[in-house]
Symmetry: C2
């Protein structure tokens, strides 16, 4: 692809056909900016279903065949598999094929690449679409999943400007709000806003579930508990992958929060009401600021969704 022609992906390869990969394929098809979509997956039933639904055009269980001559390869497998898959793909394809991914952690992928190449290949653009659904699998794929959602790209110094532009345009055509961020910053921010809350929710619910009064606890819990623990129902395998992939940034953040919890513990034990109230007040102010930012984003999503040329399901 050259930058003076209109955006077009002749062949798109999706490795791991689930909600994210499937939704991206649908979005690009809806925009008429993709020719052939070929997928690889470990469950042939999902791949067949993808063809039936028109999400992909064909599939194969042979990696070399799927990525051959592709303009863009999207690694959309679970986090732990993505490390090896990225390396395998980069070794198979020519520099004309742009390779990208959709995983929640970026540092582990960059390390895997750096361990296998003298310099990170110019045709690699790591990416993280911050979108999801309670549903999973190709049946849940929808063309407007990314509309007005953030996609973070984490280019490194060796990334080619053309590859970066292509992946940015691809996500913009899918309706996303695309920004760039260094790999380390991405992993620190996601550790704080996503990985750490999941860890705390899992720890709380697991600890309470082990108590003798477990039945009472769940019977008398109200709305606050419901909201606070909702994320503890997330997929254990996926979150196992994420916390291990991002362990360094996550443990840093965790230590900051456990320090704060330890301080509050001492203040409560000592009856230091002023310090407790000061902490709660700072948190309330910060949460209200976040609430305002979020409400603005929601309004943007609504507006973008109404104006989007991507057809809704």
């Amino acid at each position: 692809m050259s930058s003076d022609k209109p955006f077009y992906i002749r062949k798109l390869a999706i490795l791991g056909l689930g909600l994210i990969g499937g939704s991206l394929a649908k979005a690009l098809k809806a925009q008429h900016v993709v020719g052939e979509v070929v997928a690889l997956g470990h469950r042939e039933a999902s791949l067949k279903r993808g063809v039936e639904l028109g999400v992909i055009d064909s599939y194969s269980l042979d990696l070399a065949e799927v990525v051959k001559d592709a303009d863009v390869v999207v690694v959309a497998t679970p986090t732990m598999i993505a490390e090896q898959m990225l390396v395998d793909v980069l070794q198979l394809v020519s520099e004309k094929t742009i390779v990208t991914d959709v995983a929640s952690v970026k540092g582990n992928l960059l390390r895997a690449v750096n361990n296998n190449f003298s310099v990170a290949p110019a045709n690699l653009v790591l990416a993280h679409p911050i979108a999801g659904s309670e549903k999973s699998g190709v049946d849940a794929a929808k063309a407007d999943l990314f509309v007005a959602h953030r996609v973070i790209l984490t280019p490194v110094s060796s990334t080619s400007a053309q590859a970066l532009t292509t992946i940015r345009q691809m996500w913009q055509l899918a309706g996303a709000d695309v920004i760039d961020m260094p790999v380390d910053e991405h992993d620190r921010v996601l550790a704080a806003t996503s990985h750490l809350p999941h860890l705390l929710a899992y720890a709380l619910v697991d600890a309470l579930a082990g108590l003798p009064e477990q039945q009472d606890i769940f019977r008398f819990a109200a709305g606050g508990f419901r909201d606070f623990t909702r994320i503890a129902a997330s997929d254990p395998q996926m979150w196992h992958d994420i916390v291990l992939a991002n362990r360094e940034a996550l443990l840093d953040r965790l230590d900051q929060v456990t320090d704060r919890i330890a301080a509050l513990r001492s203040q409560i034990a000592a009856g230091d009401g002023e310090s407790i109230k000061a902490c709660f007040t700072r948190a309330k102010t910060a949460r209200e600021t976040f609430g305002t930012i979020l409400a603005e984003q929601q309004a943007d999503i609504q507006k973008a969704s109404n104006n989007s040329s991507i057809s809704r399901e």
Copy 2:
């Protein structure tokens, strides 16, 4: 009141006229089971508003006058003030007046009473309606606030059966599902399901708000973070009161959760994926059980609300 007559409260005194006290008065008026409702509060404007809205019939700033000859006195002040208020009321009224409350913690109230009386007065019934709203104040009061919500009564051995029956009937007439529980058990269960999640949410948001990437953190946070931190926007003064009032049970529970967090921390640092996945899986199973219980309760609330003789706002 004697048990062979229909339920009727000739004079109801509400001490602290806000959402809870106001809603109880409205519910009982809607059921035509209350004569005169008199309130006391520290802000005369709220009391005047209560009269305007028809929630109460009159008010006074003089405690002795408000509780004089009342059948039932409801202490509906903030938690910390409730301790002294309960003692003052019990010293003013005769044993014919039943005294109750609506506070979120029960142990601190019982201790305050025990410090001032040789035995907990027979006419005292501690109670905790588990209901609330994002709004507060008498303007937000509504007759159906308690419909199908739980009210926990925590009688002690000296509590009179007649007083207990009256308070149970009062809440049932307001539409609530009333159950009894020992004081200690109440405080342990509420520490786990309500006080501890609030403490963790405040600690997390306060710790993140102090980081240099604060702006990014809030900008890239998604739905999970929103739900998890919603309770960190709760009233700092009210939660300051609650965590101090229930400090013993809360710190016990907190220590159990911080032990679990510390175990997870070691497992992540050691790359012990099996233990991490086992914890996440136990939590997911427990959270799904809770989700089922909660869905059943919501269905009950809907059904009870549809059948309720209490008029909706």
